[in-house]
Amino acid sequence: MLLDVRNPIRNVAQNGFLTGAVMVFAVFAGAAFTPSSQAPAQSQTSQAPAQQVAPSPQGATPQGATAQAPAALSQRANLNIVVVDPAHGGTDAGARGTGGIRESEVVLDFAAQVQRALETQGFQVVQTRRGNENPSFDDRSAIANAQRGGIFVTLHVSSTGLPSTARVYVNADLPSAPDASGLIPWGRAQGPFLGLSRKLGDLVQGQLAQRFKGSPSVAQTAAVRQLRTTAAPAIAVEVSSISVDDRAELDRMAPGVADAIARGVAAFKPTYIVANAAGAQP
């Protein structure tokens, strides 16, 4: 298996993660890019809307990502990129309400509001999809894993649950030990980030609990597939529920959910220092 430290996305594509066992760099955790590697990240953000975010790892090469210069090893960078993932899409509508409401459409609208709220807080935002397409779980994770010092927020609407509540989920425990070569298996990429994900999840859930009565006060644990392959602090936000009679009930929640996420992420930012050293664990 060939691993190119300058091009993690090409690595995962060439080594065929779509078919299963693939390794993700430990350097994803440590972000083995120079600070200038933020430039390509910017090209995928909302600040350059003309450039489409590639939904597939094939061709989604972070141009300009270079091997780390020794002088940069001691530098640190703070969180500034948030990858927002409107779940489902394309032929996968997600949860469907009796009134014809589709989760894939609701979360796309939520994502737009979350993006605006995050930008107001000074973050750059990368969306995993902007239209009615359905990138795979791994494609979405690859987009997040290519960002240096980013975090990942996936948006969902539940089929059940108390209406007008919102829950944050973080992944359940994953064995995180890298193998003998120091690499983190792709399938357990979230492992080293569980502590940070929990911290981020609690902060966002706290904000949501203030806005939506009946929501839990701390993040819940669940085996969310999308989070497992994401090498970054990662949370899933699920709004209840698709069973409402009128979609307007969900739409009314969007500004509050967006503001809660943005404030939670802003509160998390000072605690998340991204080490530049290759292979460094969070």
Partner: protein, 264 residues
């Protein structure tokens, strides 16, 4: 047409319309009732199937804990104690409790698993990994969403935890195949932790190998790990080598390479 015939025709039509107005609601009620009866009989058949598995007059009735949705707390599970004649055979016991879980609580609103889902098979590997193979309906009928899917998985894991100490972790298959997710969210590619304390194999007579089960057929008894009181003599250690008749992760249904264990 004379006016007399016209009057007769109108009168006849009026009678027909009146009769239809009376008859159609009755017919509608009958159809609805028949559909309801059919639904009930299907549900009853499922329950009878579960009862047939559970009912074993030779086995002592024990208090089993089943985990269904809580009516007091949204998104939480609650334990319900049910007295069942449970087998002391771990595989059969697992099937009994999971079938009872599938049959559902008295209040159908508190179900965690869809009523049309069926447990096709249950296997127990020597390392304590239980493999629960469900019909397609588990994936297609479980409401899509993190909360509903995680509750479904948790109810399976916690019910096994409370009633079958031999099961250390559980893997869920859909129709014999590995599924990436249950209904689009919760990851089914790994195992879910059940009993965190390892099951202590009871002391065996000298020369008896540790449990070396053979593949468990869907009907159940063969190949199961046994509870202490019914430990059967097993072949000598030489016969316990991986090979024919031994269920190893490689031989189990679905791909079982390096399952990632998760707490439910």
């Amino acid at each position: 047409m004379t006016s007399r015939w016209r009057v007769l025709l109108i009168a006849g039509l009026a009678v027909a319309v009146t009769a239809a107005a009376i008859y159609f609601p009755i017919l509608r009620r009958s159809v609805k009732q028949a559909a309801k009866l059919q639904e009930q009989s299907e549900e009853q058949a499922r329950r009878e199937l579960a009862q047939a598995l559970a009912a074993n007059p030779g086995e002592p009735r024990v208090k089993a804990k089943l985990f269904w949705a809580s009516d007091a707390e949204d998104g939480a599970l609650t334990a319900v104690t049910v007295e069942l004649p449970l087998s002391s055979d771990a595989v059969l016991r697992s099937k009994q409790v999971l079938n009872t879980l599938l049959a559902g609580p008295v209040d159908a609103e508190l179900r965690t698993l869809p009523p049309d889902a069926v447990l096709l098979a249950f296997y127990l590997l020597p390392d304590g990994t239980g493999i629960a193979d469900f019909s397609e309906a588990l994936a297609t009928s479980t409401p899509s969403g993190i909360v509903s899917e995680q509750m479904a998985v948790d109810s399976i894991a916690r019910t096994l935890e409370a009633n079958v100490p031999q099961v250390q972790r559980v893997r869920i298959l859909i129709h014999g195949q590995e599924a990436e997710t249950l209904a689009g969210h919760v990851d089914l590619t790994g195992t879910f932790a059940v009993n965190t304390k390892p099951w202590q194999t009871p002391a065996k007579p000298a020369g008896v190998s540790p449990a070396a089960p053979t593949p468990a057929p869907p009907s159940g008894a063969a190949g199961s790990a046994k509870l202490p009181d019914i430990v059967a003599p097993t072949p000598a250690p030489a016969a316990a080598k991986p090979g024919a008749g031994t269920l190893t992760p490689e031989k189990a249904p679905g791909k079982l390479t390096q399952p990632a264990e998760r707490k439910p």
